[in-house]
């Protein structure tokens, strides 16, 4: 089958589908901008540079979490899901169930407005929306919870449109198997649907209670843990699918292992979601010891799908570059399309995944979870994943697809290429300082950690570093988002149409003769780093003369 690059394929889509994608991209970038402005103010507050009233400080923290962790990530995923399934799933890109997709976008937008109104008019509930905090102001809490229901229903509508589009494409080709990207997109859409169900399971009882139509939710935290587990996998699954699709566009060919093997890797995400969820329950007091042990063992498998996808993508890129004549240990990496802004963002995304993955394995150890879950260790490690890995990948995906929607590339190309490195450097300082703070017990949800001078002096220093680095990181992300919004407004140069390419049928005998060791070596280094970081954390924890317990993340 002839394969067009994503942007070239989208250029052939009907105008109303392009308008929908542009609207979703714009909503994603606007919610990211709102989220990082709130995040910068939280960081400055944490560093002592600003001192809003305590309630407003927590409103900023709530707004940051809800905008950036939920609405930015899910608007962007919804838009890229539709873009991928249109570009790869159909011979002539067009959405099926188009009205559902528009309705989904509208519901998500209404959901965003409702969560922000609930946050700024009522009590700040933080992004998990704990009902205990809403006892005195149920009316505004109802707005906040209803906003999450809007997000859940909106995502479900968009996922249904994406699935229907892929199925229409399959029917057009007489029932022939999907491409790996289309299958991955359908699997991703399925997980989005399930996450919508998990969101309803968590927030519907809270909505009914806040509306006076139900009893107080008794199991909100368990529902949140299950939803949160989905929200660990979902953006990462989207991330590796975007990596896979962009790598395919860059080299003009798919995986060396074949389409069927890539489908297996994408299916692994779905197969590993339910059994690895137990570690979120480590902080539940009544959990049976055998379940704790089982959860510990199963948690070791949480990274398997992502590592498998990384191996497939990087081995394929390396072997193709070596077959094309690239020599030297890392000569193959010079063959990557470094002139394109998305490539720089993806490089930082991969490095961030390695660092975030290393620290995440420390946190999910059953013996350490209780000690670290309420410390700054948590935001430190997860910003590697949410900002460095997922957000930069989604931004790269938007930048890559953009020329197909309006015929213009994003403006300020050189700045766009530099920003991922600025974000990565600030993130590194923010996260490493935060990890050190977390290991010394620095609390995560306290905006002022001086405790009337009783706190360790180190906490104050770390808070200043975290605050300054967080503000720089947020500013750089904001700049990236604004540049892409400028691209949607056609402020960039007119993009040249990329040529159509015919994909060579994998596996290609000429290419598979070349060794590709970089990816397996990287995974070996990662495993050693996880081992070293976990051993170090255990040593540090044993040295502390305290007992502690956490309430989960």
């Amino acid at each position: 089958m002839e394969h067009l690059e994503i942007s070239a394929a989208l250029a052939r889509a009907p105008a109303r589908d392009k308008a929908l994608l542009k609207s979703l991209f714009a909503a994603a970038l606007a919610t990211l901008a709102a989220g990082v402005v709130a995040g910068a103010l939280v960081a400055l507050t944490r560093g002592g540079a600003t001192a809003p009233a305590p309630e407003n400080g927590y409103r900023l923290l709530t707004s940051h979490g809800v905008s950036a962790f939920f609405f930015w990530l899910y608007f962007a995923q919804a838009a890229l899901l539709l873009a991928l399934v249109m570009a790869h799933g159909r011979a002539r890109p067009a959405l099926a169930l188009r009205a559902f997709a528009w309705l989904g976008g509208a519901l998500m937008l209404a959901g965003f407005a409702a969560t922000q109104a609930g946050t700024w008019l009522g009590a700040p509930l933080l992004y998990d929306g704990e009902p205990d905090l809403a006892q005195d102001d149920r009316d505004h809490a109802l707005l906040f919870y209803a906003g999450y229901l809007g997000l859940a229903l909106g995502l479900a509508c968009i996922a249904l449109s994406a699935i229907a589009t892929a199925i229409a494409g399959k029917a057009e080709r007489g029932g022939a198997p999907w491409s790996a990207v289309t299958f991955g997109a359908v699997a991703w859409a399925g997980l989005i649907l399930v996450s919508g169900v998990a969101m309803l399971n968590t927030f519907l009882p809270a909505v009914l209670w806040a509306a006076g139509a139900g009893a107080p939710p008794t199991d909100h935290s368990t529902g949140w843990h299950i939803l949160f587990h989905n929200l660990h996998y979902l953006p990462l699954m989207g991330t590796v699918l975007v990596w896979y699709a962009l790598a395919r566009d860059y080299v003009g060919a798919g995986s060396l292992f074949g389409e069927r093997f890539s489908k297996l890797v994408f299916a692994l995400y779905l197969i590993f979601v339910p059994p690895t969820s137990l570690y979120h329950m480590f902080l539940e007091p009544g959990l049976a010891p055998l379940v704790r042990a089982l959860g510990s063992v199963l948690s070791l498998f949480v990274g398997v799908p992502t590592i498998a996808a990384f191996l497939v993508i990087v081995i394929s890129l390396e072997a193709r570059a070596r077959a094309a004549g690239r020599r030297g240990a890392f000569g193959w990496a010079r063959a990557l399309p470094w002139g394109q802004p998305a490539a720089d963002a993806l490089a930082i995304a991969v490095l961030s995944l390695a660092l975030g993955g290393t620290f995440s394995f420390v946190l999910i150890q059953e013996k350490l979870a209780g000690l670290l879950s309420d410390t700054f260790f948590v935001p430190a490690y997860f910003h590697f994943l949410t900002v460095g890995t997922v957000s930069l990948t989604l931004l790269a995906g938007i930048a890559h697809a953009m020329p197909g929607l309006g015929g213009h590339a994003p403006p300020l190309r050189r700045l766009l290429r530099a920003l991922p490195y600025a974000i990565g450097a600030a993130l590194l300082v923010f996260a490493l300082a935060g990890v050190v703070g977390g290991l010394t017990g620095l609390p995560r949800r306290a905006l002022d950690v001086s405790y009337d001078g009783q706190a360790p002096a180190l906490w104050r220093t770390i808070s200043i570093v975290v605050g300054a680095a967080g503000a720089v990181m947020a500013t750089a992300v904001l700049a990236y988002a604004l540049i892409l919004l400028g691209g949607l407004a056609r402020l960039g140069a007119r993009a040249a149409a990329p040529p159509a390419r015919a994909i060579a049928p994998p596996p290609e005998r000429a290419v598979v003769r070349y060794s590709a060791w970089s990816a397996p070596a990287s995974v070996a280094v990662l495993i050693l780093a996880i081992y070293a970081a976990t051993a170090l954390a255990f040593e540090l924890m044993h040295a502390l003369p305290v007992l502690a317990s956490g309430s989960g993340h």
């Binding site: 399959k170 029917a171 007489g174 299958f183 368990t222 299950i226 989905n230 489908k263």
Partner: protein, 69 residues
């Protein structure tokens, strides 16, 4: 069987098994997890069936197009 349908059916089976374990094994006792994974199993079963029906329709369409008039 079509490889896409087969993959979705395997996902359904794994999720259904896990949902049953969370619902029925006393040691787990996690009704909320059983609800979500059970709903997930239903989603992937429905997806597999949707694809299967679409393949059947496409095959009937091909046969109809080849049939003499």
């Amino acid at each position: 069987m079509d490889e896409d349908v087969l993959a979705l059916a395997i996902v359904f089976a794994v999720w259904a098994l896990l949902a049953a374990a969370y619902a029925l094994v006393p040691m787990f006792d996690m009704p909320a997890a059983a609800r979500v994974w059970g709903a997930g199993a239903a989603v992937f079963l429905a997806l597999a069936l949707w694809v299967l029906v679409s393949i059947g329709k496409a095959a009937r369409g091909r046969r109809g197009a080849r049939a003499p008039r």
